[in-house]
Symmetry: C2
Subunit: 569 residues, 2 copies
């Protein structure tokens, strides 16, 4: 703590403080009480509670004063925003700190991606703490941009902004004692080890916890969450854009376990962050579902700060950072003001922080090699049926269909009439020349193609199209814009969202990104697609760990039995 003597003399009441937050209705998450109080702040920290003189008095007139809110698990790439623009989205909602897993950055850029996140998240009105991605690449059935081993994690674990090792998604590997996975846990050196074990119960869950995993955010059922909590896992109650488990899990909280729970969003779109909110939305929803407001606010602040050991955060008391939110109604928690280290950084929905320094973008990540059109063509086999990926709307699972192929000139081609479109995945990290080709039902495009360089988890180029010309045009456009998402028809770009940062994130301001996404989705609709989120659906078609059938740069993957499979049956 700098200027200790100055701060101590202010605390002793000998000198006026910089600021006094007067007549607050203080949410004290440490004593578990709400009561009238005054809070003195100097040089970004709370220095005293009680009667103090100050140069600048902020009379809260009985408004609630609470610690800023903390997200326990978030993939910032899901917002497609740079760190400063993400801050612009969430600070007006009262967010003061976020524990992030830069899983997508790491899959594309490796340690460079993590360093970029560390660098570009400095000096913002939100503090970012990083969990080191543990699943890069996610599986052996795709080509990612990097491979992170336990030794790589050890290189960075000591950094004070690294809070631990991120979600160990290969949970069978962990509970079966795979030495690579156990090595990643040991690399955590006593910092937190996040879990990810959807539906895991019973004996294998015990083994997963025994191995050293100490949190989970994947519970979708109350009994599952209760079992995990009883075994000692810190439970993150998740409420993101698509995964919404909060209301189901609220009954987990009794009077004696709030210390072991956090809120998390996991993945949330920029537009949802702005319109619906961030952790403030979780708090509101929890209170509506019957949780005591003080408990909901403890979960949103001190419980998360303590679990991830975020020093001097998550409470209002001497030595803590003056990260505050002000609001008027305890039931609906509409954040009126957000303070970061004593500075007003948002008010009435308006972001007030100064423009942050520009950080150099990471290297280009569009290293493609392919032969067009031959790489996208599928010569007819003697087989009578092909495997087709069937989309399940709003879910990341798919189904496998067996359909007779439509052919033209000895090639299997898209069949718009039956909604069987061509799906192409082109490796983009190492110019390997890997191209996977398959077919998909569910997009309902009548013409053109949609493409994305966001494609979990390896983030290769994925394109769905009605014809090879538009597929090629889509790929060329994505290359030209250094990654992104695009809708093309008859060789013409209908809408595009450039994502030049790792092919994952926009370099544009928040409002513009939200608008570009809306235009892009409208363009997809104009081409005939009726999915709620066509590009998000597209981005999950390469996610090889999730059943039933997926396509990566290495070809079709039977994700039930975890093995490569053939197009023709």
């Amino acid at each position: 703590m700098r200027n200790v003597q100055q701060k101590l003399s202010i605390a002793r009441g000998e000198k006026p403080a910089e600021m006094l937050f007067k007549n607050a209705n203080l949410i004290n998450v440490l004593s578990g009480e709400i009561y009238p109080a005054h809070v003195a702040v100097e040089d970004g920290r709370v220095v005293g509670m009680g009667e103090y003189e100050a140069h600048h008095v902020i009379d809260l007139k009985g408004a609630y004063l609470a610690p800023s809110l903390i997200d326990g698990h978030f993939h910032v790439e899901s917002s497609m925003l740079t760190m400063p623009e993400f801050a612009r989205a969430v600070v007006p909602h009262g967010t003061g700190a976020v524990v992030i897993d830069p899983h997508e950055y790491a899959n594309v850029l490796g340690l460079d991606g993590i360093r970029y996140v560390l660098e570009s998240s400095k000096n913002l009105p939100v503090d970012f703490f990083i969990m080191l991605p543990s699943c890069v690449p996610a599986t052996a059935f795709e080509t990612a941009g990097a491979r992170l081993t336990a030794d790589d994690l050890k290189l960075m674990i000591a950094d004070e902004r690294i809070a631990g090792v991120a979600e160990l998604m290969n949970y069978p590997g962990v509970y079966l004692g795979d030495e690579n996975e156990l090595g990643k846990i040991r690399a955590g050196k006593g910092k937190n080890i996040d879990g990810h074990a959807p539906g895991l119960r019973g004996h294998n869950l015990n083994a997963y916890v025994l191995a050293g995993v100490n949190s989970d955010h994947e519970s979708t059922e109350l009994a599952e969450a209760r079992e995990k909590l009883r075994l000692g896992m810190h439970i993150l109650l998740r409420e993101g854009s698509t995964e919404r488990n909060l209301a189901t899990l609220v009954p987990l909280i009794n009077g004696h376990n709030t210390a072991n729970c956090s809120f998390a969003t996991d993945d949330k779109l920029a537009g949802d962050l702005v319109s619906e909110g961030h952790i403030d939305h979780c708090v509101r929803k929890a209170i509506q579902a019957g949780m005591a407001p003080i408990a909901a606010l403890q979960i949103a602040t001190i419980s998360t700060a303590r679990h991830y050991r975020l020093r001097n955060m998550g409470a209002i008391a001497p030595r803590f950072w003056a990260d505050f939110i002000v609001f008027d109604d305890l039931q609906n928690l509409a954040v009126r003001q957000t303070y970061k280290k004593g500075i007003l950084v948002a008010e009435d929905g308006k972001y007030l922080a100064p423009k942050s320094a520009i950080v150099p973008q990471p290297r280009s990540t569009m290293n493609l090699r392919y032969r067009a059109p031959i790489d996208f063509q599928v010569p007819l086999d003697h087989a009578t049926k092909i495997r087709v990926i069937e989309i399940v709307p709003n879910q990341i699972v798919t189904r496998q269909l067996l359909e007779p192929p439509r052919t033209e000139n000895g090639l299997v081609v898209a069949d718009v009439a039956r909604d069987i479109l061509k799906l192409v995945v082109v490796e983009r990290h190492h110019a390997t020349g890997n191209v996977g080709v398959g077919f998909v039902r569910g997009f309902k495009l009548k013409t053109g193609a949609l493409g994305s360089t966001v494609a979990h988890d390896a983030h290769n180029v994925v394109v769905v199209g009605t014809n090879d010309q538009d597929i090629l045009s889509t790929i060329e456009n994505l290359k030209e814009m250094r990654g992104g998402q695009v809708a093309v028809a008859n060789g013409e770009v209908k809408a595009m969202l450039p994502l030049p940062i790792a092919g994952l994130v926009s370099d544009r301001p928040l409002d513009e990104v939200i608008q570009l996404i809306a235009v892009l989705n409208n363009a997809a609709r104009a081409l005939g697609c009726d999915l709620d989120a066509p590009f998000m659906t597209l981005s999950f078609l390469s996610l090889s760990p999730i059943p039933e059938l997926k396509l990566t740069d290495l070809g079709l993957i039977d994700a039930v039995h975890m093995r490569a499979t053939s197009l023709f049956v």
Copy 2:
């Protein structure tokens, strides 16, 4: 964790575990629930909860199974027992871990004392975690055996059994920003910093917390404890042999703050530990005072383990140590069995742990130099009154009396008729030759003398006597037994408790120590003393920070104004 693969396969249910605790009524302090469960244990750790096979099944038939209890702050020297004998006293009461401040050892032996405690507390059925003493010496008004600076603390802070820096008793020094005190806080390197601030409130308390102190165990009033808790201090609810604050402080606990409280005993005599209990007594008393049993047990286990970062302790869940207690009644919590790392170490009050290895005793600490009788003599001054220390029974404060001296042959001597006895303090660490002489009222000895090498906080030799011959004999006997406590009359030892370990601790077994103390107190009574605890009273007469009048090897100390003062007025 050793034998990981073996443990994981047991957790997965593939092999039988070493032990299964079946049909437990599990106190789950993590989920805040009590419910029927089975707990599998292998190699000292919990490996699974649920249906498991085991080589050895312990059917608890519905008895309660809880984590072993933890004391958050204790001076083990107050028991006058070695670490193994202290374990013998508390393990049958369910204690599994103790956070100790070896303040007395350090005042006598410095870093060697802390090393001795670390060494002699290994491989016992209680785990000891050490807070590094921060007040050695306690004040400048006495000669202690050692001086520990911030640099000394830094030498040891990284040890994994060092939990932080012990109570910063010089609380004005801290809140006034004394650089020595702040240096000790910085030496903590992010580990815990214990406080000690009786009665401190308001602005100065804010400054004390701001400086980095994060606990307190000195609250004697509810409002004081509440103010400290609100400011972010971890509150230790103390219930020792003499300081008994628990019942007063129980109303502090609401449904939302158990994570921020612990139980502590601070100082507790061997006899009280055996007969009344240890932390089990705190839990019983808290429940009787209206605390929910689950909350009391959380405070006694996980809250303390987390605050002091005792890894894998304080709960029953996979990876945690199998430190358990078994009991049948949730209201009176009579511990029936205690397990340490899965081994039964106490049952029905009987200690079952094997005899521990003998650790070499630290060096002799009786380095006296004095000239008898001249050093004990007080030549008459022209003044008409002398300052006399008046004992306040059962308190560590004293009062100052002004009395006419009784004289013999030009010397001021004890006056048994008026209960004004001679008090002598002889420096024992460095053979400085320092001898302080004064007078005290309250012991009511008719003959003989009482002496002790336990004399807070410098632990010099302190003797109260009716005549110089017996005072000398007392000192010689103490020297011969390498420290201890003794009652002498007419040159004859009436009873003695040798404390050869630093002059503070007995090398005898628990039962013998308790018996020797009883005999010693009876001997003091036979000499006329009617105090409840004559040697404890004697041991506090040198404690210079506590008002009003004290005697150290440097002479009489005015402990109100913190300055040396004269015998004659």
